[in-house]
């Protein structure tokens, strides 16, 4: 069905958000953020898809061929690497949290009182 890829993106969005909300472990939480990232990639790439089309690489096809959209692919490819390093930063914070709190349960974080 023609809306299926968007449903996949929506499902990932929902699972990711729900995971963050209900998480009791920071590593799990960060992985849920990664799932959320996945939903954006799925959406972007689905938007650019063209049926019965080839990849927009013209090394062996003519420039008149039917090809998919290179813009969203370019957006996604730079984003993937960037988001991975942001996850790295979050993981660094979790390492510190573990060392100092002794716990990686988000609900255990003692917050400053008013």
């Amino acid at each position: 069905m023609s809306v299926f890829p968007y449903l996949v993106a929506a499902w990932l969005l929902g699972i990711g958000l729900w995971g963050v909300i209900s998480s009791r472990n920071y590593l799990h939480l960060i992985m849920c953020l990664t799932v959320l990232q996945g939903s954006t990639y799925v959406l972007l790439l689905s938007v650019g898809y063209l049926s019965h089309a080839k990849a927009p690489i013209f090394a062996d096809i003519t420039t008149k061929s039917r090809v998919t959209d290179p813009i969203v692919q370019a957006l996604t490819l730079t984003d993937v690497v960037v988001e991975a390093t942001i996850v790295a930063m979050l993981l660094a914070l979790v390492i510190q949290a573990n060392k100092r709190y002794g716990s990686i349960d988000p609900d255990e974080m003692r917050r400053m009182r008013d």
Partner: protein, 255 residues
């Protein structure tokens, strides 16, 4: 709400309502889109079909990322760079507080990798490095480019770690300055390419090098250079991150 168990359930209820509304709304919105696989955006169509003619680059995705929208890639490059600075900053206090791992104190299992690991690791470094170089430099021709190739380059260097003794890991960990140089140098290099365009014709990131013939290695103007800069930066950045995290997990005395 902090200590009452009801607090958690309230959160789940509120969250469930919120997620259902958000996801439901999103799905409803996507039903208004054109069916999957139909229609093309004018922007996508234009860049796909003019990349070869205008820039002699057969990989239009790289042409978009490194020419039409090179400025976005500059921003993304620097986000990468800053994330690495962030990782270093956020882990730095642990270096001050804990003792530096000493070679003598590594437990015997940490000292020597198994023979199979060493053999495979050493054998694979070369081919993977060549693959990385190929992917990076052929970005404008076939699928690939600086980002992908940079990760592969990082893997090649990581194999040196995996295939060798952990003592080498330790020594390499101490000599991080060349990795930082690679990272910062790549970022600076990419920015300088943009300035090159500015100096040449007054447009930042104008593709000022000759385009060459499409299909040959030196085509696409400054795309090969940009790919190399990005490749070095991505390799340097991910290597810094991996080495910081490995340092945390593997080299410090086990808890």
């Amino acid at each position: 709400m902090r200590d009452r168990p009801g607090g958690f359930s309230l959160r789940l209820v509120v969250g469930a309502i919120g997620v259902v509304l958000t996801v439901g709304g999103f799905v409803w919105g996507t039903t208004g889109l054109h069916p999957f696989g139909s229609e093309h955006s004018r922007y996508g169509f234009y860049t796909a079909h003019h990349a070869v003619a205008q820039r002699h680059a057969t990989n239009s995705v790289v042409a978009v990322a490194f020419d039409y929208r090179a400025f976005d890639t500059l921003g993304e490059e620097f986000i990468l760079f800053i994330s690495v600075v962030g990782v270093v900053v956020l882990l730095r206090s642990l270096h001050d507080e804990e003792e530096e791992p000493e070679e003598e104190k590594l437990i015997p299992e940490q000292r020597r990798a198994s023979d199979a690991e060493r053999w495979l690791g050493t054998a694979l470094v070369g081919p993977i490095a060549i693959l990385a170089a190929y992917i990076v430099t052929h970005g404008q021709l076939t699928p690939g480019g600086g980002f992908q190739g940079g990760i592969i380059l990082m893997a090649a260097i990581a194999f040196i770690f995996l295939g060798g003794e952990w003592v080498i890991l330790l020594r390499l960990r101490r000599a991080t300055s060349w990795v930082e140089m690679m990272d910062a140098g790549g970022a600076a290099g990419f920015a300088m390419i943009g300035f090159g365009g500015l100096i040449a014709t007054g447009a930042f990131f104008y593709n000022f090098l000759p385009f060459g013939t499409s299909g040959s290695l030196l085509s696409g103007g400054f795309m090969p250079l940009a790919n190399v800069a990005v490749g070095l930066e991505v390799a340097g950045a991910t290597l810094m991150v991996v080495s910081e995290l490995v340092d945390q997990r593997l080299l410090r005395p086990p808890r």
